[in-house]
């Protein structure tokens, strides 16, 4: 695997998750992990009360790193420690959102970091059985994680009576089979139950209520659980301080597309603007090119246009909310700012497009993705994603019609909010935002 973690790190970077795996000679085996302070956080965690661990994760302001960004500690607190029911933890390692490529590094190069974070979360939530769901397109990762589980078990960090505490934890790897929808948490649970992975009808909104085998379950992203280890290691306050008040710690950004140095960059939440990310950290655009568009948080996030100026409300010097105009490049890459400007940090997969890119072509590529990946359970999404894909393909093939933009938008508007899972929004937002931001390109292609 080509390393996309550039050394030395940029001064703005702060490597916690990637601290060890970027060291020369670092290997995924347990000896190396232990030599780098491995499982010390777990040893500390088992001396704490479970509720103290949950409170620490809450106080750390850790938000999920998978895409939805739900506060992790809050999610855990939905599990009642002593409700007499079995609890499960399922690790979402189905990394499939276009533009996202961070978890693959953790799984391949530092699997014990995940297992340690998982063991801490299991101890905090009284969970004795956990599955790590890894997409089958990562066959080496599955083998590496399996091996790490065996090593950790042999050393007593997991398994029966872990660290002599009387607490049992079994962990198994479960491989997916090439379906993006399995990244949706209730689809993932259905997949793990051996059923067709159709997302479940909500409510209940949280697997913490009814999850795997209809029992309280936590589904967390790979990176999210790794952060737990560092919250225990550093303490919640110090961890939270690295980020912003609503978005603690660091986040691993995957930057791809038209920049000089694409790669994975671990940055404190809210530490950089889009301008710094593109021009300082990623080495800028390719020679002679200008910026056209950015998709900031995986392909489902709404696209931003280089000429955009966003009006948002911020706290003024006297504490009152005032209007502020922010040019696109000055948008801070944290959860709340990106939400305020109408998009999302999502999985922090940032795709950069320069002026050589045709936006109808780019949208068509994403439309084909969503048409292929719709699970087919809900009619608006199953039919609509395919219609949108067929329309943008026809436009590119020279068959554009004057009403194409209007019809595309109408289809997208009739999917979003009308489906069982968030895939409906995920497949509509690209079409809605590309049309809103680049109407002239669509009109021009339609007229051809």
């Amino acid at each position: 695997m080509a390393s996309l973690l550039h050394n030395p790190p940029h001064p703005k970077e702060r490597r916690i998750i990637f601290e060890n795996l970027t060291k020369p000679g670092y290997a995924p085996d347990i000896e190396t992990y232990l030599a780098h302070g491995g499982y010390e956080s777990l040893k500390k965690a088992v001396t704490m009360k479970p509720v103290e661990i949950v409170d620490a994760v809450k106080a750390a302001n850790l938000r999920g790193r998978g895409g939805a960004g739900f506060p992790c500690g809050t999610k855990w607190s939905f599990i009642k420690y002593d409700d007499g029911k079995p609890h499960y933890i399922v690790v979402n390692g189905d990394e499939s959102e276009p533009g996202t490529f961070k978890d693959r590094y953790i799984l391949h190069e530092d699997p014990h970091q995940l297992i340690e974070g998982l063991a801490i979360s299991a101890f905090a939530t009284n969970t004795h059985l956990a599955y790590i769901y890894i997409r089958c397109e990562f066959p080496h990762a599955a083998r590496i994680v399996w091996n790490a589980i065996k090593e950790a078990k042999a050393r007593g960090f997991i398994g029966k009576n872990l660290l002599g505490t009387g607490f049992d934890l079994e962990i198994y790897v479960h491989q997916g089979a090439g379906a993006y929808i399995c990244g949706e948490e209730t689809s993932l649970l259905e997949s793990l139950e051996g059923k067709r992975p159709y997302p479940r009808i909500k409510p209940p909104y949280f697997p913490a209520v009814l999850g795997l085998y209809m029992k309280p379950t936590i589904v967390n992203n790979v990176e999210t659980l790794c952060h737990v280890k560092h919250i225990i290691r550093l303490g919640a306050a110090e961890y939270a301080r690295m980020g912003t008040p609503g978005d603690g710690g660091t986040r691993t950004f995957g930057v791809s597309g038209d920049v000089v140095r694409p790669g994975v960059y671990e940055l404190p939440c809210g530490a950089v603007t889009l301008r710094e990310l593109i021009f300082d950290i990623c080495g800028g655009l390719k020679p002679g090119r200008t910026l056209k568009a950015v998709i900031p948080g995986g392909s489902s996030a709404k696209v931003m246009r280089a000429e955009d100026v966003y009006k948002i409300k911020v706290k003024g010097p006297d504490g009152a909310m005032i209007d502020k105009e922010i040019p696109m490049l000055d948008v801070v890459m944290d959860a709340s700012t990106l939400q305020a400007v109408g998009t999302m940090v999502g999985s922090a997969g940032v795709m950069i497009m320069d002026d050589s890119r045709d936006m109808v072509w780019a949208l068509n590529n994403l439309n084909q993705f969503y048409a292929h990946e719709s699970c087919g359970q809900c009619t608006p999404c199953r039919e609509g994603s395919l219609w949108m894909s067929k329309m943008t393909t026809r436009m590119l093939d020279g068959g554009g019609r004057a009403e194409d933009s209007k019809n595309l938008l109408s289809i997208a508007d009739n999917i979003a909010g009308r489906t069982i899972c968030a895939f409906g929004e995920a497949c509509s937002w690209p079409t809605q935002s590309f049309l809103a931001k680049f109407p002239e390109e669509f009109a021009k292609t339609a007229a051809k």
Partner: protein, 175 residues
């Protein structure tokens, strides 16, 4: 249904059955959960899943065959007919497409002797495969390596930053 002359179930070995039994133990709450692992085990062993495979896995897990068949037809990974010995899966999605994956896929097809424009409809059919059964080439959706685009999963190995000029030698090394 795909007609097959040999029944895969007739070629089962004790080692295979032992591995299947071991996989079932990973799911103490519900053995139905072992359906995906057993399908992977089967396809890794035989290259695809025939009717006897669907029936054997269903029987193993106390299910009806349709419970297994509906997984085979849902997940893009599983096949009902043989693919090439080496499957070349070129990533099609945005970052790779921007880096030239359509050209990469075409070059792979040419290098192994396949029609780059042959359609692949999925639903359990094998991707376009060379007559000697050595290679299949197909587009797949995002392989989660957008920073080193364009990429392809060749067998179990990810090949990154593929340059069209290197494709002939990549294929030659696979021969």
């Amino acid at each position: 249904m795909i007609e097959s002359k040999t029944r895969q179930v007739d070629q089962l070995t004790p080692a295979f059955e032992a591995e299947a039994d071991e996989l079932v133990t990973h799911y103490p709450v519900s053995k139905r959960s072992a359906s995906l692992p057993l399908l992977h085990l089967w396809q890794n062993q035989f290259g695809f899943v025939d009717d006897t495979g669907v029936e054997w896995i269903a029987a193993k897990l106390d299910l009806t065959p349709v419970n297994i068949l509906e997984l085979v037809t849902f997940y893009p990974w599983f096949r009902r007919e043989a693919a090439g010995k080496v499957v070349i899966r070129v990533c099609r999605t945005l970052a790779c497409a921007m880096a030239g994956s359509y050209d990469v896929k075409e070059k792979f097809c040419e290098a192994v002797g396949l029609d780059p424009h042959a359609e692949h409809h999925g639903f359990g059919t094998a991707p376009p495969t060379t007559p000697d059964g050595k290679f299949s080439v197909e587009f797949v959706e995002c392989l989660a390596s957008c920073g080193s685009a364009p990429v392809a999963l060749i067998g179990d190995d990810l090949v990154e930053n593929i340059k069209p000029a290197d494709i002939a030698s990549i294929v030659k090394n696979l021969q």
